[in-house]
């Protein structure tokens, strides 16, 4: 019941997000067709604006965008204007004039999804063991080394890590390609570059979670039974200690899956991350709103998944 309610609640939430995004774009100064070269004639500009319905009042544009607009035909009867968000149509891009927003998402999203998923795997696969190790060896030199590494990778941004990876693995040793998106080999460096920061974050969060859990009563009880420290952490503390990681992993995955402007431009990858930034610079309203909605949807779904995972991991958590 709880999850059904959550899903139903997501619909008005998405509508509010779309409205806010739409209004913000309209409030930005400048127009999508302002450019260095003047329009050939006022008539040309009028036609261009009319083709994208920019000549209509804002509320009408929004209803049209949603697909909730009825217009009077020349014969006087009302008819529904086709297309619109509710029919799964995100509209036409004002910048890439031969493409719809659906085209752009359909072409870029699978790439960003794969890149994000591998980066997620990388962050988890490296972050969890480091987190566990530093927690198990807390206060010892292994902890200091591990913690130094995790803080280091958290502090170095992707636009520094990625060129360093390229310099080493692609240019110097020629083990991996410098960019593009063709074979599985092409996925490795960008995923590592994208996931590196999260390795540190996951490790830190997992370490803290484990240390917290290690102090709880049931762990003390288990310790009293005479369990070894490793077995203690592995069997008992992990289920509780991983909860903060799970909470963090939802939004993190949404971030990773929607692509990264930095990584995609450095490696020349055809994902949607580049459009997240460029669409705003181009004042490409349909693309901005479409991508904002996509991100919001991912975030909602993944947060839901996080809550669901909680019920599996922690028997104390129940949703009514």
């Amino acid at each position: 019941m709880y999850f059904v309610r959550r899903i139903l609640f997501a619909v008005p939430l998405l509508l509010v997000i779309s409205l806010l995004a739409f209004m913000l774009v309209k409030a930005m100064p400048g127009g999508p067709f302002d450019r260095e070269r003047a329009h050939a004639s006022p008539e040309v500009e009028r036609n261009l604006r009319a083709a994208y319905h920019l000549d209509e009042p804002g509320w009408k544009q929004y209803l049209r965008y949603l697909g909730l607009l009825w217009e009077r035909s020349p014969d006087g009867s009302l008819h529904h204007v086709s297309g619109g968000l509710l029919n799964g149509d995100f509209g036409k891009s004002t910048k890439y004039r031969n493409h719809t927003v659906n085209d752009i998402i359909a072409q870029g999203l699978p790439v960003s999804l794969l890149l994000g998923a591998v980066a997620f795997g990388f962050a988890m696969g490296l972050g969890l063991p480091i987190g566990f190790w530093t927690a198990a060896k807390r206060g010892r030199w292994e902890d200091y080394i591990g913690s130094f590494f995790t803080i280091l990778v958290v502090c170095i941004p992707a636009f520094v890590i990625a060129p360093m990876l390229i310099l080493g693995f692609a240019l110097k040793w020629r083990l991996l390609p410098v960019g593009l998106w063709e074979t599985p080999w092409h996925v490795i460096l960008p995923s590592a570059g994208l996931g590196m920061m999260f390795v540190g974050k996951i490790a830190r969060i997992f370490r803290e979670g484990m240390l917290q859990a290690a102090q709880s009563e049931f762990v003390t009880a288990a310790r009293a039974k005479g369990l070894s420290e490793y077995a203690l952490l592995l069997r008992h503390a992990v289920r509780i200690g991983v909860l903060p990681v799970v909470s963090y992993a939802g939004p993190m995955l949404a971030d990773l899956l929607t692509g990264s402007f930095v990584i995609e431009s450095i490696f020349q990858i055809p994902g949607i991350g580049v459009f997240l930034v460029n669409s705003s610079l181009n004042l490409d309203a349909p693309l901005i709103v479409g991508l904002a909605l996509l991100y919001a949807m991912l975030l909602i779904v993944l947060n839901l998944a996080v809550d669901f995972a909680y019920t599996l991991l922690d028997p104390r958590v129940k949703y009514e």
Partner: protein
């Protein structure tokens, strides 16, 4: 919790997940496809590939491979040579052009290309519903402007008509010496009527797309690549040099250089794709080529606002700029200081000398205007746009100008940076005092620069309206004698850059492209930076890349090591 007992179940699940991920991995990665004969890094993602609506050079470079006009650009000189038209006659008064089409013209999908297709394409560009920003280039055609702004509704009134299947007659308003160049510009390219009428905005997605040019569109994946394949039905297919060409929309200069250095790209032909930090090193290499380019970086004054309504103030500002310092200190890509607007090297024109660097005279003029030593000079703002990529040229130029005006004239200018879309809107509405500007010539003629400062041109944007200037431009364009025209244009430009300047030219752009001349033939430096795709091909076998190299194999990439990148590691 008994871990060992649950282990087999856990591992079988993990294996399943692993296989699933593997499948996703393979399906999302690209299918193997033949390697292109030529890979070109082209700058940004094309906004459109519709010849009528495009404005950017990156779009144009692809489109001139797909479609063709009555004339086309010569790969060496970028002047107009016969394209779909085999020859033409020009009437003695210079106002009527009769084009004779080749009789063997065929669409890539079959079916003849006729004079009607030419007329359709031109009318489509001029049709206000197409909303072509370049349509003003066809205003030289009789009733072109009236049809484009809706005053004339009947397309048959426009001065372009098919006399028969293979003859197109064009009637101009007045003799236009560069008209054949316009016939080689994308807005006049011949496009497939049936596909456009059937599919509307999405006609470019039709497969196969009927094209009139040397290449067919295999696919166009946004932000990924445009792949072209030789059109064997093109009239001059025998001379098309490469079979498959990939054009990659690379936005980041570092990525471009990396791809080039590892042999994944053969040609990089956008000056934006040279990392600015490495310009000094790279420009010394034999595979980096700079050339003079038909573009000028300049600043606009808003002459309707105080204190820049005073010509003495504008001149003082112009004379206080040390342009040689700008190109030496900031741009560093082989740009040349500009004292006039029209770049040197434009056909049939000798630009006059404009205002140079003369701080003494500058201070004197400012004093005459009532601001000795900058005293009492009102608040003035310099407007510029945020960079699209990582290169901060505009900002650096702004800071340098601010410093020069402060040091030489004693005036303090404020700098204001706004996002590009906002910037263009503000500039066109005149919401600025001084604004950074640039212009790239559309065709090789002085008019593409000088024409925009006539009183009613939408690109004027300075509020500068001088009937005497308008008259000179009109007279020049009606003049058929090349020398006379040169003289008249000189008079006009003298007004613009010396006597009563609404602008200050700062420097002429230089183009940069990089490719190994031992391995690539068919690219020639020319002032328009036009390099028709059909002329370009790979020759011989070099150390980098090579057809034998497979992209998917790491082994072969490792064997094609090039010693040159070592210069970059430092």
């Amino acid at each position: 919790m008994d871990f060992p007992k649950r282990a087999p179940k856990f591992f079988s699940r993990a294996r399943f997940l692993f296989v699933l991920l593997g499948c996703l991995f393979l399906s999302a990665c690209r299918q193997a496809e033949p390697r292109a004969d030529l890979t070109i890094l082209n700058g940004g993602e094309p906004e459109s590939l519709d010849p009528a609506v495009i404005v950017a050079q990156v779009d144009m470079r692809i489109i001139q491979g797909l479609f063709e006009g009555l004339t086309r650009f010569d790969p060496k000189t970028a002047r107009a040579i016969p394209g779909l038209a085999e020859r033409w006659d020009i009437s003695p008064d210079g106002k009527t052009y009769t084009f004779h089409l080749r009789t063997n013209l065929v669409w890539s999908t079959g079916g003849p290309i006729t004079a009607d297709d030419v007329v359709y394409s031109w009318i489509r560009t001029l049709d206000p519903a197409t909303a072509s920003d370049y349509s003003s280039q066809l205003y030289y055609v009789k009733n072109g402007e009236a049809f484009n702004n809706g005053a004339v509704k009947d397309p048959s009134q426009v001065g372009v008509r098919a006399l028969d299947r293979f003859t197109v007659e064009v009637e101009l308003n007045h003799p236009t010496s560069f008209f054949l160049d316009i016939c080689a510009m994308p807005l006049t390219y011949v496009v497939p009527r049936q596909a456009i009428e059937k599919y509307g905005d999405r006609w470019l997605m039709v497969k196969p797309l009927p094209v009139s040019g040397p290449y067919e569109l295999v696919y166009w994946r946004l932000n990924d690549k445009v792949r072209l394949k030789k059109n064997s039905r093109y009239w001059d297919a025998a001379n098309t040099q490469s079979d498959i060409i990939d054009l990659l929309p690379v936005g980041a200069a570092d990525a471009a250089l990396n791809l080039y250095e590892t042999g994944q790209a053969d040609i990089v032909w956008d000056a934006q794709l040279v990392p600015s930090e490495l310009l000094d090193v790279l420009l010394k290499r034999p595979d980096f080529h700079t050339f003079n380019y038909l573009g000028t970086y300049f600043i606009r004054f808003n002459v309707t606002k105080k204190p820049l309504d005073d010509v003495r103030v504008r001149k003082a500002f112009a004379l206080a700029i040390d342009k040689a310092r700008l190109v030496k200190k900031i741009t560093k890509g082989g740009e040349r200081p500009a004292s006039h607007l029209v770049p040197d090297g434009v056909a049939n024109y000798h630009p006059p000398e404009g205002l140079g660097y003369d701080p003494v005279q500058a201070r004197q003029l400012l004093a005459e205007a009532g601001y000795p030593g900058g005293n009492g000079f009102p608040h003035v703002e310099y407007l510029f746009n945020a960079p699209a990529g990582g290169i901060k040229i505009h900002e650096n130029v702004a800071i340098e100008l601010q410093q020069m005006w402060h040091d030489e004239l004693g005036v303090q200018i404020d700098l204001r940076q706004v996002e590009a879309k906002n910037f263009w809107g503000m500039q066109s509405r005149g919401e600025y005092q001084i604004s950074r500007s640039s212009w790239i010539g559309d065709y090789n003629d002085a008019n593409t620069f000088l024409g925009m400062f006539t009183s009613n041109d939408g690109n004027n944007r300075t509020g500068w309206k001088r009937p005497a200037y308008d008259e000179l431009i009109q007279r020049a364009n009606e003049q058929t004698d090349v020398n006379e025209r040169d003289q008249i244009f000189q008079k006009a430009e003298t007004m613009l850059v010396r006597e009563d300047p609404p602008i200050v030219p700062l420097y002429f752009y230089s183009g940069i492209n990089y490719f190994d001349t031992n391995r690539i033939s068919g690219i020639y430096p020319n002032i328009l930076d036009m390099h028709p795709l059909q002329a370009i091909r790979k020759v011989g076998r070099g150390t980098r890349g090579g057809a034998a190299e497979s992209r998917s194999s790491n082994q072969s990439r490792m064997t094609t090591l090039d010693p040159r990148p070592s210069t970059l590691d430092h």
